[in-house]
Structure formats: structure tokens, C-alpha cells
């Protein structure tokens, strides 16, 4: 992964040097950097809150599914199907533009977090459930053999192992959900996309604005991606000792 970053940076430097046609207006870039910074922080804030909500929802759903709690289990499955088979944008539009018409008015930021939590929850539920099911039955039997109750089994044996087994999928979901924050531009939130669009509309500095936009997302997502790969490697070593 690191190799690719190095190659990419070299490419970019090359383009910058050779591409006179891409002559960038650096004063413009520097002038509007703070606005992008603000947009980036807003994106992060909404993204993180949305992810936390999604994780909470997902964990509850996974527990319901793993322990086969009647009635709730079917509800959870229906929820997951609905959330996964509809676009986030429609969910956001429905929450922000549709609900007010029947009296439920949400602020844009609330709708954003709710939407991300709704969609993300279904993905997190699948990730957690896979983690739970990956805990070997033999571990559970070993726990039973020393007399652990169901509650103690869950607390000492199942949960810790399930959580660490879920991490790769959870990490991938985080990256996915952070990318989806770009859709918040559709419900009038001044995040990275809208900032770019407004600025291009006002000053026509397309290349500069777009570079800032792409850079913004790379700053958030590249480190996360690298951390995730590192984390996966560490956990694999913890589980299997190699």
C-alpha cells in the first residue's frame, strides 16, 4: 500500500511540474483553504457521529440475530433488507424533505446522522453477526465445560472474540460510510461537495476547487485505510500467533 502512495505522489509531482496547462492558482487555493478545512471538519463530525450510531444499532441487531430472539429477529432482518436495498440519498431525502410534510421536522445535520446511522446500521449488523458466528463452537463448549453460565459465556468468551473477529469488516464499513458523507450535499449541508460546488459556481476555478475536494477526502480516507490494514495484520497475529 505504501508503495502505491509513493508512486502516486511521484506522479502528482510530475504532473505539477510538466502540466503548464494545469497552471494552478495557488493564491486561490490558499485563500479558500479555511473554508475547505471547515467543510472537512463538518464531514468528519457528521461521519463519526453517524458511524457511532450505526455501530450501536448494528451491535444490537447482531445480538438479536445471534441469540435468535423471537419476533425482534424478523424485524431486524426486514430492517436490514430495506436499508441495504435502497440508496442512502433517497433515505436522506425522505428524512429531510419528506418527513416534515407529516409533521416531523429534522435539522439537516440530524437527518444526516440519522440517515447514515440507518444505512450504516444494517452494514454494521452484518459485520458484527459474522464476527459472532466466527467464534468457534469448541470455544463455547470449553467455556460450558468449566461451568460458565450463558451470561458468563457471552461476557468472557463470545463477546471479546466476536468483536476482534469483526474488526476488518467494521473498518471497511467505516471507510464506506465516510465516503457516503459526500451525499450530505444533497440535503443542504455545507460539507466538502457543496463547498466545492458553490466555489466553482462563483469563481470558476474548477481545477483548484476539485483538487482541494479530492485532497480533502484523501486526507480523511487514506490514513484510515492504512490504519485498517495495520490493525487487521495485528489482529490476525493475535488470533493465530503468526
Amino acid at each position: 500500500m505504501v508503495a502505491y502512495i509513493i508512486i502516486l505522489t511521484r506522479l502528482l509531482v510530475l504532473i505539477e511540474r510538466e502540466g503548464d496547462c494545469l497552471a494552478l492558482d495557488w493564491t486561490y487555493i490558499i485563500k479558500y483553504l479555511p473554508q475547505y478545512e471547515e467543510a472537512l471538519l463538518l464531514t468528519l463530525k457528521l461521519g463519526v457521529l453517524g458511524i457511532l450510531l450505526a455501530a450501536a444499532v448494528g451491535l444490537i441487531c447482531a445480538v438479536i440475530q445471534y441469540f435468535h430472539i423471537r419476533v425482534l429477529k424478523q424485524l431486524v432482518q426486514a430492517y436490514i433488507e430495506i436499508a441495504r436495498n435502497t440508496p442512502l440519498l433517497i433515505q436522506l431525502f425522505f428524512l429531510f424533505y419528506g418527513l416534515p410534510k407529516i409533521g416531523i421536522t429534522l435539522e439537516a445535520e440530524t437527518a444526516a446522522i440519522a440517515g447514515l446511522g440507518f444505512l450504516g446500521g444494517s452494514y454494521m449488523a452484518e459485520a458484527f453477526r459474522a464476527g459472532f458466528e466466527a467464534v468457534p463452537t469448541t470455544q463455547i463448549e470449553a467455556g460450558k465445560s468449566i461451568g460458565l453460565s450463558q451470561l458468563q459465556l457471552t461476557r468472557f468468551v463470545i463477546f471479546p472474540q466476536a468483536l476482534s473477529l469483526s474488526v476488518p469488516a467494521l473498518g471497511a464499513n467505516c471507510i464506506f460510510l465516510l465516503k457516503e458523507t459526500s451525499l450530505f450535499s444533497g440535503i443542504a449541508i455545507l460539507e466538502l461537495m457543496n463547498t466545492t460546488r458553490d466555489l466553482i459556481g462563483m469563481y470558476y476555478k474548477t481545477n483548484e476547487s476539485l483538487i482541494l475536494l479530492v485532497a480533502g477526502y484523501l486526507i480523511i480516507l487514506l490514513p484510515l485505510s492504512l490504519i485498517l490494514t495495520w490493525l487487521e495484520r495485528r489482529l490476525r497475529r493475535a488470533q493465530f500467533g503468526n
Binding site: 463448549e141 467455556g143 460450558k144 465445560s145 468449566i146 468472557f156
Partner: protein, 247 residues
């Protein structure tokens, strides 16, 4: 026959899985302090039998009586039974998220609610006996298969069981590590622990057993002292089985 009291009595134990009968009316009496080794070809039901004894598998018919308590009664509290029946598995299954000492103390502290110092002392004694006193704070991933299995035995012993069940505990180990585990079991036998051992290690079986039980297709075909079984098996199936293992 022996004149020690019978610790474990199994009467006519029957287990079915759908249409298949896995255990066909087994009867067995294990006196206290004796070591019974169960031998037999793959699929004869010996592992299943052990698993029935600590409630991991349900039975359809028959009775299991441990120290006077009928385990096959409807209201059996398996949690308390499992404290009396220690079991060690082929896959050792130490909990990967805990250190060795935490693995061992989990049962005594959380299930038996014992005093921490007392349990810790016993745990350390047991660890020293199996030669792993210095690995107290290690995680399972840092240990070899043989070491993990010895810890698994300690973990079961720390619950102070009345009877120990061993389910093919050396089957997943490299040959070099098999010996260190078998030595632990031999020592336990010398100290008078009542044990039921399922194994493929014939020489070991011969050394450690007070009685050999030979199973095939859900039945007990033969039962008797090891010397009788290994030198002059009575049934054809047993003869076949032993021949297979002597090239």
C-alpha cells in the same frame, strides 16, 4: 472387580441423531480412582459418549449417575455438574483473549466464587506440576500445542472435579509434544484421579488403563484389563482393530 465405591454409573445409555443410533444402550461402572480407556475405530461413538457425560450432547434414553446424582433427570443443573466433571478437548480451546492464569482462574473465581488467593495458589501449584509455572502471564498464541494442552488440563483440574474426561487430547499435537501431555495424564492417574480417556495412543493406553473399553458402532464390544485386551482380544472386531494398528 474392585471394592472401591462406584463413582460413575452408566445404565443403558441410548443416543439417537435423527434416524441414526449413535449409542446403543451402553452400560458402564467406573469406580473411584480408576482409569478407564475407551478405544475404538472412528465413528464408533466414543467422543459422543464422553460429551453426553457432561451434558454437551442430549441423550434419549438411559441413566447417568454420578456420585449418586442422576444426571439424566429432567431438572439437572449442568452448570453445577460440570464443576464435578472436568473435560479436556482435542482442540484444547484456551480462551485467546486471556492470559494463561486468567484462563485457569476464570472457572474457580466466576463460577465457584472462590477466594482469589486460594485459587491463585492452587493454580500456581498445578502449573508447577505440569512444568509451566513461568508461563503464567503468557497468552495462548505464544504457546506451543503441547503447552496449551497442558494448560487446558490445569484449567480443568483447578475446578477440583471428581472425574476427568479426556477426548483424544493428543490427536492434534506434533509427535514431539504428545509425550509431555501423556506424562501429565499418567501422573494424574498415579495420584488417584478417576478418569475416562478416549485415545488412539495404544502404548499409552496399555500403561495407564485400569480397564479398557472397546467400542464399535455404538456398542461396547469388549471390556477388561489392558493386558487381556491387548494380548488376547476376545471378539473379532477387537482383533481386527488391533491388527490394523500393528504393521
Amino acid at each position: 472387580m474392585s471394592n472401591e465405591p462406584v463413582l460413575l454409573q452408566v445404565n443403558n445409555l441410548t443416543k439417537r441423531f435423527g434416524e441414526k443410533t449413535i449409542l446403543n444402550g451402553l452400560s458402564l461402572a467406573v469406580p473411584k480412582g480408576k482409569v478407564f480407556v475407551i478405544l475404538g475405530p472412528s465413528g464408533c461413538g466414543k467422543s459422543t459418549f464422553l460429551r453426553c457425560l457432561n451434558g454437551l450432547e442430549p441423550v434419549q434414553d438411559g441413566a447417568i449417575v454420578l456420585d449418586g446424582e442422576n444426571l439424566t433427570a429432567k431438572k439437572t443443573d449442568w452448570r453445577s455438574v460440570r464443576q464435578k466433571v472436568g473435560m479436556v478437548f482435542q482442540s484444547y480451546d484456551l480462551f485467546p483473549n486471556m492470559t494463561v492464569i486468567d484462563n485457569i482462574l476464570l472457572g474457580p473465581l466466576k463460577v465457584q466464587k472462590r477466594n482469589k488467593d486460594e485459587a491463585l495458589q492452587q493454580a500456581r501449584e498445578l502449573l508447577t506440576r505440569v512444568g509451566l509455572a513461568d508461563r503464567e502471564t503468557a497468552y495462548p498464541r505464544e504457546l506451543s500445542g503441547g503447552q496449551k494442552q497442558r494448560i487446558a488440563i490445569v484449567r480443568a483440574l483447578c475446578m477440583n472435579p471428581e472425574i476427568m474426561l479426556f477426548d483424544e487430547v493428543t490427536a492434534s499435537l506434533d509427535p514431539e509434544m504428545v509425550r509431555e501431555v501423556l506424562e501429565v495424564i499418567l501422573n494424574l492417574a498415579k495420584q488417584g484421579m478417576t478418569m475416562l480417556i478416549v485415545t488412539h495412543e495404544m502404548q499409552f493406553a496399555r500403561m495407564v488403563a485400569d480397564e479398557v473399553i472397546f467400542m464399535d458402532k455404538g456398542d461396547i464390544c469388549e471390556a477388561g484389563p489392558p493386558e487381556d485386551f491387548f494380548t488376547s482380544p476376545k471378539t473379532d472386531r477387537a482383533k481386527q482393530f488391533l491388527n490394523i494398528l500393528q504393521f
